[in-house]
Symmetry: C2
Subunit: 279 residues, 2 copies
């Protein structure tokens, strides 16, 4: 596995690959890799001649009071995992190279970035869209792979690619869950044993919503109240949002008309967890 | 000369050119071509294997009270001029294809877009940056050519390319002027005979600034007052701004320390003209 840190070297390498007529599959990550990431890598391996994985903890997608500094980093362990998956290139650039102090240009994604996670994380999706645009411009992949756990993220990247004619195919890969139902997340590492025991309630709340809809419930607000009252209030979770929205535009639904996205974000202590389900 | 209107056809054509190892030079225009544009084409011909010129009157760079509807359009005349210059491809997409109604993603250029022309044209440079990013993503040129008359525009595009790692070389071509000194501009077509006789005062005001600086004047405000008082107030020009700024950051200069950009925008009737000089 080649490890490249210099963006200019990465650009040259990718240009030479494309000139040979080989396809590039790209998996952007912030490291702290888990099985969810490895599923993205496997999907990329299946569909691409050359697979590039980036590890970059992107400062511009963290708010000033968020966990940028303490976000888990273990590049050796991550590199070993990627090597085992036969990844071709690990791209691991520096913050200085990717986000210079005089950076002025950003990709804005409009109202899609202002709802759901955007409400409590202002500027987050601008930071995500901007760094992904930069990676796409350096690597010029044929296909890029995102996880369904970050549903709003993949939808925004899809929209950005379409709006700005980026010509990258976006593939969304299903969320990988523990046996308990808890979605795999790098931030699960923050949880205490007690919190970890409670964390599956997040997915349980989505399954409750699914059962209610299957049983004919049409009122979004009734489902949201049920989730909060019957599941999350019985744990230490502090709800950020429970939302039922159109899965493409993220507009709030008052009446259930499938397909809908049910998305939830909640804090266990200082750890913010998210999950979602398409019904 | 090939004429392409479909962005997907344009993308495929450009990809096939790049795969052959040929370089692409790109000249984005809004049509109503004059000698200034043709100088861009000539520069592109010198440096590129294949030259692509776009003609697209971009609605998102016009304010609601600006001249989008009446902006001069003469595609037949323009196409004949480009053919004569041996341009390889004219890319002439529709507004519907380039700016669909559900467009949400934009490229923002921060404070560089909020000064000079950005003050009286809010959102203008966001519209310029976004459409140029879209063209760059479709065409993936090696080099793109911009005129120095729109100095702020080329500086912002340069910054966007650097910030977002677009990998396009930006070449700025000197302003083409009439014998009177008036900068060639598509908007000169709006001027009456009387206004046209007064229009060279804009460049004359820049030459006055240049002479004052050569003579040792260090005060930006004195130069600006002199321009307004001794030249522009003797015409029908209504000044939008006269500014002396850093040529890269566009920060206002109080004291002249070369190199500086002296930029002016003023209205003759409803027609807004701009000009600038690097001293």
């Amino acid at each position: 596995m080649l490890v490249i840190t210099d963006p200019q070297k990465m650009r040259k390498y990718c240009a030479s690959i494309s000139r040979k007529g080989l396809s590039i599959g790209f998996v952007p990550t912030m490291g702290a890799l888990h099985e969810g990431h490895l599923e993205l890598v496997k999907a990329a391996k299946k569909r691409s001649d050359v697979v590039i994985v980036s590890i970059f903890v992107n400062p511009i997608q963290f708010g000033p009071k968020e966990d940028f500094k303490k976000y888990p980093r273990d590049i050796k362990k991550d590199a070993a995992l990627l090597k085992k998956e036969k990844v071709d290139v690990l791209f691991n650039p520096s913050v200085e190279d990717m986000i210079p102090k005089d950076l002025l240009s950003y990709v804005e994604v409009g109202k899609m970035g202002d709802v759901l996670c955007g409400t409590s994380r202002p500027g987050h999706f601008r930071g995500v869209a901007t760094i992904v645009a930069k990676f796409f411009n350096i690597i010029r992949p044929d296909t890029a792979f995102f996880g369904a756990k970050d549903f709003q993220q993949q939808a925004i990247i899809r929209k950005m690619v379409k709006d700005l004619d980026m010509g990258v195919e976006i593939v969304t890969v299903a969320t990988v869950r523990e046996k308990s139902g808890l979605a795999k997340s790098s931030r699960n590492a923050y949880l205490s044993a007690e919190q970890r025991a409670q964390a599956p309630a997040l997915y349980a709340s989505l399954l409750l919503a699914k059962r209610m809809i299957a049983a004919g419930e049409k009122s979004a607000s009734k489902i949201i109240v049920a989730i909060k009252k019957n599941i999350l209030s019985r744990t230490d979770f502090v709800v950020d949002y429970v939302s039922i929205v159109d899965s493409e535009t993220f507009e709030e639904k008052k009446t259930i008309k499938r397909p809908v996205l049910i998305a939830v974000a909640a804090y266990l202590g200082k750890t913010r967890l998210i999950d979602n389900i398409l019904v």
